[in-house]
Amino acid sequence: MPNLEEYKAKSIVKQEGLNIPDGCVAGDFSDINVDFLKRHKNIVLKSQVPVGSRGKKGGIVVTETSSAEDAFRELIGKEIDFMLPEKLLVEEKIDYSAEYYLSVYSCPEHRGPVLMFSSSGGGDVEEEEGGTVIIPVKINSDKISADFFKKGLSAAGGIEALELDALADIANTLYSVYRKYDCKLVEINPLVKTDEGFIVLDAKMIVDGDAFFRQGEALDLDFVEEIEGRQPTDLELAAGKIDEEDYRGAAHFVQLPVKSIRGQYGDKVKTFIGFNCVGTGASLTVMDEIARLGYFPRNFADTSGNPPASKVYRMTRIILSQDNVGGYVFATCVSSQQLDNTARGIIKAFKEVFSKTGGIPDIPAVMLFRGAWEEEAMELLKEHGLFDQPNVKILDSNYTENDLAGIFDKLYKEWKNGKKL
């Protein structure tokens, strides 16, 4: 599900007629227009990382324009939730008298779009009790009725009638953005009241991944997996290209956060492994079994749906190109896909990555093939010299996910103790 950066979301709501602060996006302080800096005495620097509560995490800095350059350098070099911003949004500082929260999102319970309003905007407003009024929007309506909106908002209290008219217009604009861009969520937080009217101080848009084919180009989106909450890595972008045009089978790839896992599990982490599976159900069981023994997946990957060998090859190359990888695990469910093709993809990738040893890896690798063309897959691995080498164990349908984890553990310990290739 593509998650638009704040500056992109703001430019869209501006196109649709809402007011946003004067500002620009910059990767370097020198990118900022000099006239902009002359126009404003105080400015706001906002780290463009897709993280909630950025203000509390030090991702938003208010500064005098005269000292903005130092503040800019400091903020662009600051990691927030393990993410380093590539650019900052630089805006005029807005003085306001009230702040609100307004969003339209796809509600699973309501099975349709829901409008959410709060008379108190800001961080964590969704978690607050009181003040937040949820107004369900009729699924097939093109427009939110002003009366309906006002009736719902009257429960929030303390809002003048004139403001209600203006807020109803803004809610309708937001709803039209939600529909036009196939959003799962479009949010303004805060929407602030100023002497010049309402201004969008922050905006967020999450586009439904199924609408990529018609929104990708318009919104300049990359085809990636659901990685809500952060920017895609280079490898995730490369993996997204595998499936972009080739409909044969599926290729899913998401990298997992090494720093965060190490922070959470500490010494329990023996190593990270490059991981691929056929069938996501089996992958969950395998990941549970190997993580329990201290081997954490560096990535999630799935090459199922009977993909051509070329797709498995590309995915394997991506998996093996990751840093911080001390092992490789491949596992299938009891699959109906042509596993000989799957094996060929893996063999070609291994022969290229580990070319000096004819494809035999210099890290422990366990592969579990179960299902259709399983015997042919085994024969291919034997034929190409990858069957049961010192660092490699190939398993068939006589083995379970639990067996795989135990065998990898044994192999890893032997490898660690010097029995390596």
């Binding site: 290209k241 044969r248 590309r314 093709n341 060929r344 070609k348 034929e383």
Partner: protein, 90 residues
Amino acid sequence: MVKNFKLVLFSGGNISIDYSKCRDCESKACTKFCQSSTLEPVLKIENGIPVTTDSSKIEKKNWCTECLACELNCGLYGKGAIRIELPLGE
């Protein structure tokens, strides 16, 4: 001189064959899996070298299933004349 072979693949990339290596190849292993497939084969041996079975279908999407068997077999039993380039992230 025999012209070298190149087939563009549906997923991007291509299969290329260096015919200068094929002359000394006795195995002709490159076409064995392709010819045994239940699908329409792409490669056949003609005058001692692998060629497409139907030149009119070269532009047909998905004709080659990209099983990679020709390259792997050529590398193992032949002369390493076949190279399948599958670019990443383009």
